[in-house]
Each structure stands twice: as structure tokens, then as C-alpha cells.
């Protein structure tokens, strides 16, 4: 009887210990913030002669654009610095060379004076050529040197009339020069050629292309794009990876951007102390026409060239980017003065350019690096080595029962032996 009570007490103590189990604090997301420079948007409006065409809800394309601009100017968020540039607004002649220089800054990028901007828009009359390429180059200059997101919204109704300067190449060059510049394009009742050109410009900079058939669509979309610019976004830091680990730039936790050419590799270095975990993810964007099968490989390699872990991804078909990531928890060290390990990160891609597509500048590469404290480890497959399920219960019950029987028989036998003696 006493033994039974003890047993029961033992079980109770075990259950109590389990119920009171020590809770580990959960990993909480840290509040990391960054003061934001003002987002800048430039609206680039095509004021070429073809904007006179009356095919948007019975009005001219120009009228639709003006109305959209008025409404968007009213709704522009306070923090956005907005500018307006026109193309083909002034030159009426037939000289192509002159016509292709015709782009004018209607309203400078800066804090918005709505009345002034509206007055400027009201004076516009459809006139000349469609020099998209030169206008984009000038628009990129309008932003100046500040940080922060920069967005060009290009509204056009026809393809560029100023070849051989391909506006698509121009857009790619502009995007390669600066960080965080996006060109969104809107085609007003576009034909196939215009559509191809405008969507090519958008793809080259990670922007979007919209085909507009109605007035409201134009207003909604331009408004949406301006608002989107106001959303705070982390600005990546430009870096330049090296061709080998030895000369690679040392990175800390953060978001980085780089350019990687077709078939080339980029190396970066990250220091990881014992007990820290390195997390890296990379995406390579295809900003031009590429062949439909592609991939990306991210490798973490020791300085001696041993591969620690890799992330790889492959894809097929239309895409904006291909991405992969890896994580490398460096185990705790007993030595308090253990020096950090330098891990080399290698990024390669297997994109191939479609026929007739320029391979320079390289494709945009985005790299996030996080070195977090606290590695992860597991000593067992199941949580805390615990069991679960009916088989577990059956096995335990059977074991307990057999143990009880044996114990009982043993004590009977002992009593019998004692009695006979």
C-alpha cells in the first residue's frame, strides 16, 4: 500500500513538472527603422500630334491625360515630390533632328504647388514628335542626386520616332546607373508596336505596363502609381561583387544591389561569429528578353574553397526574377575569443540572352544578408524527444504491465523462499 502511494505521488510530481514546464521566450521581430528621403515621381507626358485623336470615351487623348493629371495632382500625397516633363510639346516643324530634341521640363521635381502645376498642364497642346528616349534621359537627370525611390510614369500613345536611340536600351542604362529608379508606362489606345516598346521599357526597370482604353483607367492607374511611390520602401545599398572571394566586398546585414552579366559570377564576403546564423537570399531579375529556361545558384563557401551550403533555383517561362536563399548556422564555440569566420557568397546565374539582345549592362541582382544571433539546433527528430500516438501508449502500457507482473512474481517468490526458511 505504501509503495502504491509513493508511485502515485511520483506520477503526480511528474505531471506537475510537465504542466509547469519552463517556457522559452519566443523570437520577437525587432523594430528596425530607417529615416526615409522624400520619394520622387516624374510624370512624363507625350504631347505629340497624335494625342489629338478623339478615341478615349469620345474625347481626345490629350483631354483624357489633362483630366487625369488634374485629379492626380489633387490626390498626390504630401510627402511625394512630383515633377512633370513633356515630350513633343513645342516643335512643329518637320526636321527630325530638331523634333527629337523637343522635351521640356514643365514643372520641376520638388514640393508640389498644385495650382501652379495645374496651370502648366492646362497650357499644353498636342504638337510634335515622340522623342521617348531623350525624354527619359532628361527625366532621369531631373531627379538630381538624392537618395530615395524615384519613379518615372511615362504616358504615351505612340512609339518612339527618334530611332536609332532605342528607348528600351535607354531605360536599361538609366536603371543601371542609379538605384531604385522605376519606369512605369501607360499606353493610350496602343498599337502592337507601341505596346511592345512600352512594355519593354517597363520590364527593363522593373516597372509595370498598362494599356489604357478609358479615362477612368488612366486616372486610377496614374494615381495608384503615384501613391505607390509614397509607400516607404527600403533602399538597397549599391555594391560591386568581385570575380573571386579574395577581392570580394565585405557585407554586413542589409539589402544590397548589384549587376550581374550573363554567365558571370559575383562574390561577396560575410563575417559570421560562432553562435550566429547567416541568412542570405538573392534574386536576379531578367530585365530584357531572355531564353525561357534559366536558373540561379547561391553558394556559401569557406575561404579554403569548401562549399558549406547552397541554394539553387531554376525556372521556365515568363518571369520577373529568379531567387534563392540559404542559411548557415555556425555552431557555438567554447572559446570566447573565437574569431569570426569569413564566409564567401557566390552568385551565378544561368540566364541566356535572347537573340539580338545586348548583354550589357548586367542584370539587376538583389542580395539580402541577415546575420542573426542564436543558431538553431536539434538533438532529436521529435520535439524534446517526446513521443506521440497510440503505438506509443500501447508500448508503454505493455512495458508497465510486464514490469508489474515481474515485480509481483518476484516478491511472491521472495516471500515463499522466506517462509520455507
Amino acid at each position: 500500500m505504501i509503495r502504491r502511494q509513493r508511485l502515485a505521488a511520483g506520477v503526480c510530481a511528474l505531471l506537475a513538472a510537465l504542466a509547469a514546464g519552463i517556457a522559452c521566450p519566443g523570437g520577437a521581430a525587432a523594430d528596425e527603422t530607417e529615416p526615409q528621403p522624400a520619394p520622387k515621381v516624374e510624370l512624363v507626358l507625350d504631347v505629340s500630334g497624335s494625342m489629338r485623336t478623339r478615341d478615349i470615351d469620345g474625347g481626345t487623348r490629350m483631354a483624357a491625360a489633362k483630366q487625369a493629371f488634374n485629379e492626380v495632382l489633387d490626390a498626390t500625397p504630401e510627402e511625394v515630390e512630383l515633377g512633370i516633363r513633356t515630350l513633343g510639346a513645342n516643335y512643329r516643324g518637320n526636321d527630325r533632328r530638331e523634333g527629337c530634341k523637343d522635351t521640356e521640363r514643365l514643372y520641376p521635381v520638388g514640393p508640389l504647388d498644385r495650382t501652379e502645376a495645374k496651370t502648366a498642364v492646362a497650357t499644353l497642346a498636342p504638337t510634335g514628335w515622340t522623342p521617348i528616349g531623350p525624354a527619359l534621359l532628361k527625366a532621369a537627370d531631373d531627379f538630381g542626386n538624392g537618395d530615395g525611390t524615384r519613379r518615372i510614369v511615362l504616358i504615351s500613345d505612340g512609339e518612339d520616332t527618334c530611332q536609332p536611340l532605342d528607348p528600351c536600351e535607354v531605360a536599361r542604362e538609366i536603371a543601371a546607373k542609379g538605384i531604385g529608379l522605376t519606369i512605369d508606362t501607360l499606353g493610350l489606345v496602343p498599337d502592337a508596336k507601341t505596346r511592345d516598346q512600352l512594355s519593354c521599357i517597363a520590364d527593363a526597370t522593373g516597372g509595370t505596363y498598362t494599356s489604357v482604353q478609358h479615362k477612368e483607367e488612366l486616372t486610377d492607374r496614374v494615381g495608384q502609381l503615384v501613391e505607390r511611390a509614397a509607400d516607404p520602401v527600403v533602399t538597397p545599398v549599391a555594391t560591386e561583387g568581385a570575380g573571386s572571394c579574395a577581392g570580394a566586398p565585405a557585407l554586413k546585414s542589409g539589402l544590397y544591389t548589384d549587376r550581374e552579366e550573363f554567365g558571370k559570377q559575383r562574390w561577396y564576403k560575410v563575417d559570421v561569429r560562432p553562435g550566429q546564423e547567416l541568412r542570405a537570399s538573392v534574386s536576379v531579375a531578367d530585365d530584357r528578353a531572355t531564353n525561357p529556361n534559366y536558373g540561379v545558384l547561391l553558394r556559401a563557401v569557406t575561404q579554403q574553397g569548401r562549399e558549406i551550403v547552397r541554394g539553387e533555383s531554376a525556372g521556365t517561362g515568363r518571369t520577373d526574377a529568379i531567387s534563392t536563399g540559404l542559411r548557415y548556422p555556425k555552431p557555438e564555440s567554447d572559446d570566447d575569443n573565437a574569431s569570426p569566420e569569413t564566409v564567401c557568397l557566390q552568385v551565378t546565374n544561368s540566364f541566356s540572352a535572347a537573340a539580338g539582345v545586348k548583354t550589357t549592362p548586367g542584370m539587376p541582382l538583389e542580395l539580402t544578408v541577415d546575420v542573426v544571433d542564436g543558431t538553431s539546433a536539434a538533438s532529436d527528430v521529435a520535439a524534446f524527444g517526446l513521443g506521440r500516438g497510440w503505438w506509443l501508449l500501447a508500448a508503454l502500457v505493455l512495458t508497465g504491465f510486464v514490469a508489474g507482473l515481474l515485480w509481483g512474481w518476484l516478491s511472491r517468490w521472495r516471500v515463499a523462499v522466506w517462509r520455507t526458511n
Binding site: R4, V11, L14, G21, I22, Y209, V234, S376, R388, G400
Partner: protein, 266 residues
């Protein structure tokens, strides 16, 4: 008497054993009511619109846009992402695809669900779905298992006639999850959830200025601490049953004790 004892032990066994089974079917996390569902989508991982599980995020976009959302998923959850695209009135056949990436931007496979679907000419909507694998608390660094953290959803059209490029569409995305419970409870845990930018140190915040983070995502009730699972109940109940069975087995060998009709001292 012995039969009664055995019967009561058996009943006790049944009753105790039912407890862990009940502990497994814990309710799935409820939809959050705070914070509005996003009405815009992002256009890249960096700008992905953040939503909570159980919210229906909407966006108006142009055919050909790459739309990004992100949501948090925690240990033991098996997320299901559903998307509906309302197509323009007239369009040619187009194929839409839903991709899910984890916090390391690794592509995550769908167990079930039509993640790629072709809308025939003139169809009004396309429905896409993707049921992910169960999110584990830990996995080896060389594995691609889903881990707690941010999940990115990308919705895009895969192929389309060029005449349809840029036409307006509306998209709805929703992420829900089923709680798998102790069956998926593994040992170990991550130092921090797989939230991109979680290690970036915060510079001094200016008053009133909007701040940007790569991903500020967190479940409504915080990330789970991983230590609790129904395995504790199963194991504890198993231990208790084993003890009872041991007592039962012992009792079987003891006989009935002194018969009641025998007078004391006989």
C-alpha cells in the same frame, strides 16, 4: 473482484488515452480583425504588400504585372493560399500562376491545389490555390523545408497573347492555415524567424517619419515559442498508463488477499 478491477483499469486507460487525441485538434488561429487588408499589391519582394492570415487582400493591376504579397506563417501551420483573378471582358486564353516563396526567397512547393491554370478565351475569373507543406520549427540548413517566418505570394500571368498585355485585372488573395499540431512538432528551433531584414539594426527614428523595413511581419499573437506540443500530453499520459498497468500487473500476482469470511487471528 479481480474482473471488476481489470475492467475499471481498462476504462481508465480509455479515458486517459482519449485526452491526447483531443489535445491535438486545437483550433486554428483566428482571423485577425485589427489592421485592414491591403488593397494594393507590391511589384517585387522588396515592395510586397503585407497581409495577415485570414485577410482577403485585393489589388487592381494590369495583365502582365507581377503581384507580390507577404504573410506570416508559424510553426505547426499548414498554409493554404488562394487567389482569384477577375479577367477583362474580352481576352484570349491566358495562363496564370501562383508562386509561394519563403523568407529566404526560396520557392516553396505546393502539396495540392491548382497553382497554374489556363483561363480559356472569354472566361471571367481564374481560381488558383496552393497548399504548402507544414511549417516546421526547425530543419537542417541543407533542406528546403518551410520554416516559420515571412512567406511571399507572387501572382502573375505566365503566357498571354500580346494584345492582352496591360489590360486591367482585379486580383484577390487570401492565406489561411490549418493547425497540424503535435504530429509535426520537431525538435529544435530557429534563433529568429525567417523574416528578411530582421538583423538590420535600426537607426534613430525621426518623429513622425514613415519608416521602411524589409518585412515587418509578425503573427497577431507573436511567434510561437515552440516548446509546447501535444507530445507532452501523449508522453505524460503514456507514462501514467504504464504506471497503472504496472500496478495492475503487480496486483494480478498478489491474489485476493485474506478471504473475508476468515475471522481475524485464525
Amino acid at each position: 473482484m479481480r474482473a471488476l478491477r481489470v475492467l475499471s483499469a481498462a476504462l481508465l486507460t480509455l479515458g486517459l488515452a482519449a485526452a491526447p487525441a483531443a489535445a491535438d485538434s486545437s483550433p486554428s488561429p483566428s482571423a485577425s480583425s485589427d489592421g485592414k487588408a491591403p488593397t494594393q499589391a507590391g511589384t517585387s519582394f522588396r515592395t510586397a504588400a503585407e497581409m495577415d492570415q485570414g485577410q482577403t487582400a485585393t489589388a487592381s493591376a494590369s495583365t502582365g504585372d507581377y503581384l507580390y504579397w507577404s504573410f506570416p506563417a508559424d510553426t505547426g501551420q499548414r498554409p493554404t493560399v488562394k487567389a482569384t483573378v477577375k479577367l477583362p471582358d474580352a481576352h484570349a486564353a491566358q495562363t496564370w500562376q501562383l508562386d509561394v516563396y519563403d523568407g529566404l526567397r526560396r520557392h516553396q512547393s505546393c502539396q495540392y491545389g491548382a497553382a497554374t491554370r489556363t483561363a480559356e478565351q472569354g472566361t471571367a475569373t481564374v481560381d488558383l490555390a496552393c497548399v504548402l507543406r507544414t511549417v516546421r520549427a526547425w530543419s537542417e540548413p541543407w533542406a528546403n523545408d518551410p520554416l516559420p517566418g515571412t512567406y511571399y505570394v507572387r501572382l502573375t500571368v505566365l503566357n498571354l497573347g500580346s494584345a492582352d498585355l496591360g489590360l486591367p485585372v482585379r486580383a484577390e488573395v487570401r492565406a489561411d492555415s490549418m493547425n497540424i499540431g503535435g504530429a509535426a512538432a520537431v525538435d529544435g528551433s530557429l534563433g529568429k524567424p525567417l523574416v528578411p531584414g530582421i538583423a538590420v539594426e535600426s537607426p534613430a527614428e525621426k518623429d513622425g517619419s514613415k519608416s521602411a523595413v524589409l518585412s515587418a511581419i509578425e503573427p497577431d499573437d507573436g511567434w510561437s515559442s515552440h516548446w509546447w506540443s501535444s507530445r507532452w500530453v501523449w508522453t505524460a499520459v503514456g507514462g501514467a498508463l504504464a504506471a497503472l498497468a504496472g500496478i495492475g500487473g503487480y496486483a494480478l500476482t498478489r491474489g485476493r488477499g485474506r478471504p473475508a469470511y476468515v475471522p481475524p487471528g485464525a
